[in-house]
Symmetry: C2
């Protein structure tokens, strides 16, 4: 069998984590507020607006981007005062976290800043639904990731392959940890990639499939790093994928179930999401490619007997489209799926009315996915854009 | 601060994984079927019955146990023939897996064994809901874990602490993997514990709290192994807890949110579940203890301001009890909660109508849980049974 033609590319970004950057920005903003107060002005923050109105698809870079609409938040404005106070509270908290080298979860940040304002019955925060948006505001306002502010996201996912990571004082090879692999932490900003002895990274939706590939020694034979997302990719995993691609030149190949949920996982890794448009430059990897499962795989590999029916009502039936059908039709509208290959796949799915899972390949044999399916498709470049 | 009084105990079980045991049993059963056929008899399997009727609480060992009611499954019986065929198919599949040293997920096992019977339009399996129960039947019939048959469960959870694990050719210390920790695989049967330099294992419900304790260097300071379950404990994690307790003598201390879901997580780790009663001897750890969150913690640590309301209708209101209240009242009936301490906690929860999360401790300070809450409660033995 020919060696994989997928090779590392030239890195285009450098390790850029610098905790002092956040502190400098926070101090700038803090000083301006103080000066405004001293000179009798009404202090304010300019915060880029959230929502669809301030989001666009950057055709050149091929990522979802935030526009330049701003919303001004004043201290001396009855409608703004509470949020102004909350913004300052969280800014002070972040300053303390970063200065002390500590991290907090979103929930901890909420609990830590919830208190009753002395002399009143007013709480600073009533609910995490009040503190989370303030943190998003700060990401947009300061142009930094939540993780750079030491506010950690939920963690999920693990990796396995011949790369050496340095995390604090520890250095380890993620292919020397038995069947387990390395659990990806919530924050990956500070990681150093000491050695990268793989040709590409294969991002895998299900843990069962990742474990199959590990058992078949796929990572060693194909010089691949396995990244198991365990469903929708966590922010940590998405940032890790981005860093491995841009800082280490690793091509990213995504392997999900052939269904609207799997394609959405791919979509989020590739282009970012609308909610987090302002982070696309740091979280998205538009050069990622998709290996499967595709609708063509069903016929090509004789999997007709192991498809599953799509849920919901098809578009041409009364009451339709709903369920899976509705999601597929929505995906057909995504700017990054506006190409012949993806339109064809998505149309086929609606027409055939079926989905096909990664694990359905076990119908051929357990080895099939590692010995034939993936090497065949990856080496011949049979990938979707 | 005094050193932790919690110490390792004398081991009571030995490493017992022996892949040949399953093979021997499968061969015995297979031979009997073959002999029956040769001598013109109607072959059958005797399978311990599932369901509440065949489950009891063993007061002495304090685990949920399977009774001795059997159900006989014949080949020559129209009502049994399909299941008999399926049982044999899965048995043959397991034999191949174990002989070849391979593992398969439940989903792979389903897909691998789904085919159309030649000359008919009949499929061997129509749905995974047909194959999963057959696998459970085999666990009960053979008295082995699914994992011993090389059928792996969903994986979830990670560990961090000064223990050295050998998994195949790899040997690693789970406290030397940066902030990530070691991702617990679906199957932990084959792991060897080479060195165990901790006094106890702290099982933690949320990843955010586990990460807090790692950041605070709690595992090193308190000589503890952190086991993050990330919600309900996976089978792999429950088996790992069991093995660490019985083979390595590690006391198990569980730390969850103070709510019906958290108490249920504790309950499952401690006593096993009704569905898997036949596995309690291998999955449950009845000696596990509970450190928090408790209802008493709210007043003792001044957390009144950071409780959350229980969901649902209380028992004394019209339409009640529903939601959280209903679950708490159900938990009050569990045999292992029939003691003064737990009845008091559960009654208090219903009366106060609130829940308290682990992360609410961040209201004191980020360090509070690691420097005061846990050491204070664990060292003074302030644990629930």
């Amino acid at each position: 069998m020919p060696k994989s033609k997928v090779k590392r590319e030239k890195p285009r970004e450098r390790f850029s984590y610098d905790p002092t950057r956040v502190l400098t920005k926070l101090e700038e903003y803090g000083k301006r507020v103080l000066e405004d107060i001293k000179s009798g002005k009404n202090p304010y923050f300019d915060i880029p607006m959230r929502g669809l109105n301030n989001v666009y698809f950057d055709e050149k870079r091929r990522v979802i981007r935030m526009g330049d609409k701003l919303s001004r938040r004043y201290f001396l404005n009855v409608a703004h005062a509470r949020k102004f106070m909350q913004t300052l509270l969280i800014m002070a908290y972040v300053k303390r976290l970063v200065s002390e080298g500590k991290h907090a979860s979103l929930r901890e940040a909420y609990y830590a800043n919830k208190h009753t304002i002395p002399g009143t019955k007013e709480n600073t925060f009533e609910d995490q639904r009040e503190s989370d948006p303030i943190i998003e505001d700060l990401e947009r306002m300061l142009g930094v990731l939540r993780e750079e502010m030491h506010l950690t996201a939920d963690r999920r996912g693990y990796i396995y392959g011949d790369i050496v990571i340095r995390d604090g004082e520890d250095e380890f090879n993620t292919s020397k940890l038995g069947m387990g692999g390395w659990a990806v932490p919530g924050t990956v900003e500070h990681l150093h990639f000491v050695e990268v002895n793989v040709d590409y990274a294969l991002v895998v939706e299900t843990a069962a499939m990742a474990d199959r590939l590990i058992e078949e020694k796929f990572p060693k034979k194909e010089k691949a790093l396995i990244i198991a997302t365990q469903g929708q990719a966590s922010r940590g995993v998405r940032r890790l994928i981005h860093r491995l691609h841009y800082e280490e030149g690793l091509p990213i190949i995504v392997f999900t179930d052939g269904d609207p949920y799997g394609w959405y996982i791919y979509s989020t890794i590739k282009q970012g999401s609308i909610n987090l448009a302002y982070l696309s430059d740091k979280l998205a990897t538009p050069e990622a490619k998709f290996v499967g499962m595709t609708m063509d795989d069903i016929k090509r590999y004789g999997l007709e007997n192991v498809t599953e029916k799509l849920k919901g009502i098809p578009p041409n039936k009364k009451g339709g489209p709903t369920g899976d059908y509705k999601r597929i039709l929505e995906e057909m509208e995504y700017p990054w799926f506006q190409n012949k290959e993806w339109q064809r796949q998505l149309k086929m799915a609606v027409k055939m009315g079926v989905r096909i899972e990664q694990q359905a390949l076990a119908n051929k044999s357990l080895e099939f996915v590692a010995k034939r399916y993936l090497p065949e498709k990856i080496n011949s470049g049979d990938l979707l854009p």
